[in-house]
């Protein structure tokens, strides 16, 4: 479980609209999730005010503190994590073209990548209904303006780095890169498919023994 803490965003002047297409899609989802447009307006004001603290992002959830005139509130947001099979499919989609990982690393989420993933059954961008949240403020409806404000800031984070989206969905950057690398490696001992489980067991035993010995200082 990897957690990435994104620093506090400073005050922004003027409308801070999302420009890249996936950030816009996220914002549409946020607006779907909200019950009232007044809430959205208040949320936008809060997000620009610089009064949201660091946002901690983990697969499936994010946490942030928000301050307004009434006090300090804590927001916890959730969205569904992709199951392991879907993560595999996502990795496979990125591996399908050489340029995709390079684009991601350059801060671009190619349309073709998301479409291809959808065909494989992986919905990268969430629907509004998938965005859950709770907040310590006593608002009538969830998501409250504080939560919405945090979601707006997430849009900016996504825009700068699409890996944030993948991380929320359960595929951290390092893991993706490691798996891409492993993909091309022909499995060792593939000439003896029947031995595989035994070898694995033996390897596992040897490694544990080595670890024990290391602990004992031998």
């Amino acid at each position: 479980m990897t957690t990435v803490v994104h620093p506090r965003a400073p005050v922004r002047r003027g409308a801070a609209r999302a420009t890249r297409w996936w950030a816009k899609a996220w914002v549409r989802a946020v607006e779907e999730a909200s019950y009232s447009s007044a809430d959205l307006g208040a949320a936008r004001a809060i997000s620009r005010s610089g009064r949201i603290g660091q946002i901690s992002v983990e697969p499936g959830r994010y946490v942030a503190a928000v301050e307004d005139q009434h006090g300090l509130w804590a927001v916890l947001g959730t969205l569904p994590v992709l199951d392991p099979r879907a993560v595999d499919a996502l990795v496979e989609t990125v591996a399908a073209e050489t340029g995709r990982v390079a684009a991601l690393l350059a801060g671009d989420l190619p349309h073709a990548l998301v479409e291809h993933a959808e065909e494989a059954g992986v919905e990268l961008l969430p629907y509004g209904t998938e965005l859950g949240s709770t907040c310590t403020c006593q608002a009538w409806a969830d998501p409250c303006p504080h939560a919405l404000a945090v979601m707006y800031q997430l849009a900016w984070l996504l825009e700068d780095d699409p890996f944030v989206l993948l991380h929320l969905r359960g595929l951290a950057r390092e893991e993706l890169l490691a798996r891409l690398h492993d993909r091309g490696e022909p499995a060792a001992g593939a000439e003896h498919p029947g031995d595989d489980p035994d070898i694995d067991v033996a390897v596992d035993a040897a490694l544990r023994a080595a670890a024990l010995l290391a602990e004992l200082g031998q």
Binding site: G99, I199, A205, A206
Partner: protein
Amino acid sequence: MSFVPVTGTASFRAGQPPREGVVEFTDERRTVALPIRAALPVLTKAHSRDDLHPSVGLLSGAALLGLRLVAAGRIEPAGGEPSWRMGPLDADDEDRVLRLAAARAYDEVTVDAAEDVVRAMLDAVADAMPRAAPTTPRAAPVARPAFERTLRQRLSRYTAPGPELPQLVRISLRVEADEEELVAGAVRLVLQVHDEQNPLHLCDAVVLWTGTPAEHGFGERARTHAAIALRGAAEAWPVLDRLLELRVPDEITLDGDELESLLEDGVAALAGRGVDVLWPRSLGRDLTATTVLDRSRPMSQREAQLRTGIFGEGELFSFRWQLAVHGDPLTEEEMEQLAGSAAPLLRLRGNWTVVDPAIARKARKRVVRTATASEAIAAALTGVVQLGTAEEPVEEQVQLGASLLQVRERLLNAAHQPPVDVPAALQGTLRDYQRQGLTWLAELTSHGLGACLADDMGLGKTITLIALHLHRVEQGHQGPVLVVCPASLLGNWEQELARFAPGVDVRRFHGGSRSLEGLTDGFVLTTYGTMRVSHEELAEVGWDLVVADEAQHVKNARSSTAKALRKIPSTVRVALTGTPMENNLTELWSILDWVIPGLLGSRQAFRRVWASPIEAGVHEAKTRQFADLIGPFLLRRKKSDPGIAPELPAKTETDHPLHLSREQVVLYESFVRDTMARIARAQPDDPVTRRGLVLALLTGLKQICNHPAHFLKESGAVRLTGRSQKLDLVDELLGTVLAEDGAALVFTQYVAMARLLEAHLDKAGIPHQFLHGGTPVRDREAMVARFQDGQAPVFLLSLKAGGTGLNLTRADHVIHFDRWWNPAVEEQATDRAYRIGQTRPVQVHRLITQGTIEERVGQLLERKRALADAVLGGGEAALTELSDDELRDLVTLRSPE
């Protein structure tokens, strides 16, 4: 673990399968029996304690050995009931077992028994460590080695991390094509990956993506880095996007258009990103283009014979592209083929060649541009041509076509032609170097080109030019010659023309009543000032030659004088000047641009191409090129040149005939009138008064001839220039003398005139000294020293102040501002400069105003030798004995013929 006693005996009961073995620990208080899995931690930790019971020590040692062997991957599946056991031990391990047994044997347990216990423990540990039993029973020992090997291989990855494999990579593209692809006009681009640190370590991208680290030798992240580099390259050259779309970016095929795009800008753009494009040896890339300068239309034989000059009317030259492969020029057909081919791949002379689109364009549009004759000459002499626009000048090497090579040869050898015959009409002999100069001028002018003769003063430029005119007349050229010179030199030209070419018509175009009526041939002399004003009238004449004497007067191309001169057309232009102008390129441009229009380009182009680089001194080659360019058109000899000096006499005497200015004429005539009247009125019995009046008359007239300000006793801030040709000529002479780094003595009888000269030289900023009768002796020596040193190149001397003991051998010019009746005194003054120790030829200049008393007295002295002797003896007092009529005859102003 104090719960489990280790101070008492422990025993091991092997189980079946071995993982069900049990270790029993006992002491006084309790007995604990643990299965092997649970006992392992106890045994291994207990190993370090001191108070172990020997049996515990034995078991503990065996347990540790077992763990080590498992960690080394020595286990293997056993037959029968699925279980693991310790694989065959090698010699070292056997040895360890025996030593352990020997060390841990105690009391009643023998070494053999201990050994058995150890082996049983090893098997138990081997079976206890794996989490699962083996799936398939190993049938025969045949399968065992394979198992071991594979296991070892897998483990090696973990236990022995190899050396750090490089992660950072660069990419490059390799062009490949086989024969069919080339025929179809297509090539393949293969992606290569190489280590950033070690350029020799490279592999094809396909290996990096599909092979093992053992095969490609790169680290884990190399693939990602290669992908990032590829994305950057695709930004530079978007055709590479096709590679990015592949799962494994191995290669793409380029069609003709894409290959062209690669050649045109792809290679450069990719190079900007650090991505090289590598070409196979079999694909030639050595096509080059050079410019060739030649006539636009080749001349037929007949035309070539008819030509007299190099350049006829409307002659056109053009710069064309010539292509070469490996330096070998292509034929016309090959260039046509190149121009016509659609794809950038071409079979040329048996080899496939890649054609840069830039070169293909040059093959299609062969003519770069046309050139005028002057540009052609400039290119022929320097070997380079300026192409491109004013904003982006491009200098290209140029090769010369055959006809231009001929032209170049002739130009370079103009000075070395066999000497022409001296024209018969010339009344005088030419010295050798003058004949050489004539030959050179004749050669250049016969081609219709101009020339600049820049010999030192006194070497005879005037006579050389007169000879040139006579030569051209002999050759059949027709038309008058225009000579433009400073006013103070008009008399000189007239005198020399009269002396050397008496049959030639000479007309002076100067003054209010000037006219060109009835002009057919001969010389027309005019001044710069008159030319500036009347250039339109002058431009209407069909001049054969236009000569600019003392051409430094038009060194400022922006002056109206220079502009006017350029408006006078002629077949040939010659500039004469004694002052070297090599130090100031802009002045040189001004004169050479008039002599050969267009040779040096426009003033701005000249500044940019030649003047700035040469003055900055950065490019040696530029200075040499410039010398090559102007060399054929500039001839300069100095007095000190080895071929010249012996031919010059030690002393040259020149009389400069001058005219009076209008002011001087008025003063002269009125003074004569007044004083003659007074003399006539003087009583015959009063010889003293008459004598006084005559002397006063003679003195006054001499003063008027010198300068009106001298006569009028003006002093202070008065205008001196333009009122006396003597002063103006002195300016000309001193200008040349100083430019030649020489020194001059100026003699005058009158201290007042010397003072005026001093004031004039002060204003001109010329360092000078004045030595006269009143100068203290002490100062005299200092002044002489300063002059000989070169600190004050102009030395004004009163004629009487001479005296012996003055050594002024540094002077190479002596100017007699006014005449002394006694030639011997003049000689003596001159000799102060011309003495033993003088190494340079000396020029003596005598300034004589025409039609005045100065001229007359000289003639009189020659006619009447007796009077001469008397004058020699008694000074000018003897002149007072002349009768009134004789006197009047002497002093009346005669106008020059």
